[in-house]
């Protein structure tokens, strides 16, 4: 296997982008990434695009070909592949691209993610997202995504010390980071009161515990480490790629408050990179709901089970803390265009490792991690990246 590097990154602004079409979102991110890498379109060997549900959001399938076409790569007949794993589509697209380069099959590969969610109403998008869980045995009886994560929160709070304020603190911290990120959907700071006074969605989760519906795209360019000198972008090395699965339905899990797929993927990634959680300088975790961040930092190994609330309360996960979590603002404040999220996480970590994160820069960051979850934990992708 060859060592792989990220040589360029690009991301659109995230938000409700009424005037931008699905295909143009992708082109914007892709062009930024190629420009950053100093790569010409015709040098690209392959493209992997993460996308959850263009079929339901914009009634368009065959996304690989569409994207290649509008990127001007139809005439070079590039290999273009759509990757789908619900909200982990981006993370898996990145992993497929890493594998393609590591194996020697391809040299210059673009990994991207895109989702256009606001062309349908909220009800229709909630329906589409419900397909990430078990349609027949969860969705059919009235389960929603916030509802499933709320059941994790109730189970967790019954067993471990976690207050309603601790949960709110996750959102407060992520909004504070988002306020320093020029691409974030929400760039306003909030207080614990903002969260506690927002409307209940699924007890105990309130509106401000939930990530929003977002349009956006992100792209990164990969190359073999031995070829990075040919390009202009500052390279960041991929130290590990790992992926794991679990039951599609939450009710079939061994433990409602643990994502065993996160534990498995993290163990594999740390083992591959010969690293421990202590050596990670920052991590982008999948905070689709506030409870998800608490559970993620435990399952990734940054603290023991039951300590996630304390870690958050004591500021250890904030900028300047022991392990800054979601410096981009996370899914909560940066936004969550589902297929793009996994790539945006890589974009953020690369931006941090190059020291280009501005007001949200983590001091002397050298190793970063991403954690991307599909559904309620049925798919998890974990990546570790490091400075070269």
């Amino acid at each position: 296997m060859r060592d792989v590097a990220v040589i360029g990154v690009g991301c659109t602004t995230f938000g409700e982008k009424w005037s931008t079409a699905f295909r143009h979102l992708f082109i914007e991110a892709g062009a930024l990434a190629l420009e950053d890498a100093g790569v010409q379109g015709e040098q690209v060997d392959a493209l992997y695009v993460g996308n959850m549900s263009a079929g339901r959001f914009v009634e368009q399938e065959h996304i690989g070909a569409l994207i290649a076409d509008y990127a001007g790569l139809a005439t070079t007949h590039i290999a273009s592949t759509r990757v789908e794993a619900a909200c982990a589509s981006g993370g898996l697209a990145f992993r497929q691209a890493v594998i393609a380069v590591a194996s020697g099959m391809e040299d210059i590969v673009v990994a991207a993610g895109v989702e256009k969610m606001t062309d349908v109403g909220t009800g229709a998008s909630v329906e589409a997202l419900a397909g990430a869980a078990d349609r027949e045995w969860e969705g059919f009886v009235g389960a929603t995504f916030p509802g499933l994560y709320a059941m994790m929160a109730v189970d967790y709070m019954h067993r471990y010390p976690l207050s309603r304020e601790d949960l709110a603190q996750v959102a407060v911290k992520n909004h504070s980071n988002g306020a320093k990120n020029p691409i974030a959907q929400f760039q306003q700071e909030i207080t614990i009161d903002t969260v506690l006074r927002s409307s209940l969605v699924a007890d105990p989760l309130r509106l401000f515990d939930c990530s929003p519906i977002t349009d956006g795209a992100a792209a990164v360019v990969l190359a073999p480490l031995e070829r990075v000198h040919e390009f202009t972008g500052t390279p960041v090395k991929v130290l590990a790629t790992a992926q794991a699965s679990d039951s599609i339905a939450l009710h079939d899990r061994r433990d409602i408050s643990t994502l065993d797929a996160t534990v498995a993927a993290a163990n594999r990634a740390f083992s591959k990179a010969h690293l421990t959680p202590r050596e990670i300088d920052l991590v982008e975790v999948h905070d689709c709901f506030t409870i998800a961040e608490i559970i993620a930092i435990e399952d990734l190994g940054f603290c023991r089970k039951g300590e996630g609330g304390r870690l958050t309360r004591e500021g250890e996960t904030a900028l300047g803390g022991r392990i800054p979590v979601n410096t981009s603002g996370g899914l909560k404040a940066c936004g969550h265009p589902v297929g793009a999220t996994g790539i945006k996480q890589v974009w953020e970590v690369v931006t941090q490792l190059r020291g280009e994160a501005g007001a949200r820069q983590v001091d002397s960051a050298e190793i970063g991690m991403t954690h991307n979850v599909g559904g309620t934990g049925a798919t998890v992708a974990v990546h570790i990246l490091g400075v070269t």
Partner: protein, 132 residues
């Protein structure tokens, strides 16, 4: 949900007909046609669940998908059936009555409808034993 898709699951949804592996004795609801422990050595057959069990965790759905909007707020739970498997279902009780560990029994109820002129789907909800 299409007619065929709902119709083929009527035994499971109305009467909690799940499956059991004759090789290892493990019960499955929602039903599986392949035992994850024994795999090809498994011998799967139908099993009629009693439907009694207890609440593992729950929530109160305040914002629902379009099909369930009219029913909010409703209590949604993960229930551990006495035979072992866990499933997701609605509890017929008020938000204040829902508790972890609460014993429940099955009740036949209307689950939802496909618009105003589409198929009405029925299935199993759960009621607290102590309140009945």
């Amino acid at each position: 949900m299409s007619v065929a898709r709902f119709w083929r699951k009527i035994p499971q949804r109305y009467n909690l007909i799940g499956t059991r592996c004759g090789t290892c004795g493990r019960h499955f609801f929602p039903p599986r046609t392949f035992c994850p422990d024994c795999r090809r050595a498994g011998e799967i057959g139908p099993y009629h669940f009693r439907g009694t069990g207890e609440v593992v965790t729950f929530t109160v759905i305040r914002t629902a998908s379009e099909a369930f909007e009219q029913m909010t707020p409703y209590v949604l739970a993960i229930i551990r059936l006495d035979e072992g498997p866990q499933l997701t279902g609605q509890i017929v009780c008020t938000p204040e009555q829902a508790k972890i560990g609460m014993r429940v029994r099955p009740v036949f109820r209307r689950i939802g409808a496909d618009g105003t002129s589409g198929v009405i789907s029925y299935g199993t909800k759960f009621a607290p034993v102590a309140l009945s």
